[in-house]
Symmetry: C2
């Protein structure tokens, strides 16, 4: 990893495939990294352990595990007793907003990342969202990120003083296959990550939720084995 | 209070003078109210009790006290050991961003309110910010609210489906005096509220922080007694 700059960046690290790739990519660009993982009382809490593994593998300066209990609001299959939908035909994923949509989640995560960035003088926030091979969430679209960036500028003392904080979405245009190939070129160990929305009590992935289906297709298209494969049921 | 509509609104209720006035105003417009108070581990935690008193006085449908530990980030005299500035000359308040600025606070609060609004089908979020007689926070300006409204539309399933959630800032152009007169016309009992950033252990207001100074001037200009006056040191 290059250490040519000492610029700071905050990276949102869920513990999934996309955020791990994004974290490795930002590290490869020489940033000193501040990782932020949000414990939103999600159904798949085991992703928090994955985030710790990834942060340790990269060697971040600081890793904050931020509690944000979105079950207080509910409204999603990830934050309530609503069922996680399984076996959605792949060609239908992304065509409508699924029950796993969590109200205002990325807006909240980016706002937290912005607050963190402001306090550690970071110039960039990295978020591993993708608008390709995605689940149809409104807050994964480039137009949302553009609007957020403008709002961030107006919301902060940093923005007012001309020291604006950039939001970077390096995976926004990549397919899952392309993300995996990028990650492997950067040395990401995908066995550290966790993807499933509805894991079994032993942490194994269900292999059938949208999130698993998209990951599986990504590895299949890349013609590579998924190191989590043996963990699918 | 009129009950001509059964529309839902979320109101951000800090327990201060402005948010209490805003809550009464929204209730007077016939909304069914969902109050949201953020326990951000602020120095002046006693404002949370004030928020409970105000919510009870209005009779809201639901009151969520949301824990959001912004001390994990710090960066403000309200969320760290940094000292609260006292005795700022009144004419200088608002000319620069004070140490009581909390990074991205209103962005976070509005994002939480938006998530709440989406889950309870609220059409409006009320926030009692003011750009007049204010402390110079960037996230109290109308241009921030405009940008946030656009972002909110893009961030949510509600926005995508055309059911956009409006952000209302009824106090944005009012002086503190005007806010107080409005509140009294609506029956607000300001003895229930709390304003001070740096209260004494017994809950008395310091009377000298920016927030107290602005409140005191408001009541003085209105030529009315502040019911908290005896609580100033």
């Amino acid at each position: 990893m290059s250490e040519t700059t000492s610029k700071n960046a905050v990276v949102l690290l869920s513990g999934g495939l996309d955020s791990a790739t994004t974290a490795y990519l930002s590290a490869s660009q020489g940033y000193t990294l501040y990782a932020l993982t949000v414990d939103y009382n999600q159904r798949h809490k085991c992703e928090l352990e994955a985030a710790k593994r990834v942060a340790a593998a990269i060697g971040v300066r600081q890793h904050i595990m931020f509690p944000l209990d979105l079950r207080l609001f509910g409204g999603s299959s990830l934050t309530s007793e609503m069922e996680v939908v399984k076996y959605v035909p792949l060609e239908k994923i992304g065509q409508q907003i699924p029950t796993s949509y969590v109200p205002a989640r990325n807006l909240l995560f980016l706002s937290l990342a912005l607050a963190f960035a402001e306090t550690v003088n970071a110039e960039t926030v990295f978020i591993g969202i993708s608008a390709t091979d995605y689940s149809g969430y409104p807050d994964c679209r480039p137009e949302f990120i553009e609007a957020f960036s403008e709002t961030a500028q107006l919301a902060t003392a940093a923005g007012v003083s001309g020291r604006s904080i950039r939001i970077e979405t390096p995976l926004i245009g990549l397919s899952k296959k392309e993300t995996i190939l990028l990650g492997l070129s950067l040395g990401v160990d995908y066995s550290l990550t966790h993807t499933c929305y509805d894991p079994l009590p032993d942490g194994k992935s269900c292999g059938r939720c949208e999130s698993c289906l998209l990951r599986r297709r990504g590895f299949e298209e890349a013609e590579l084995p998924d190191p989590l494969m043996q963990k699918y049921v």
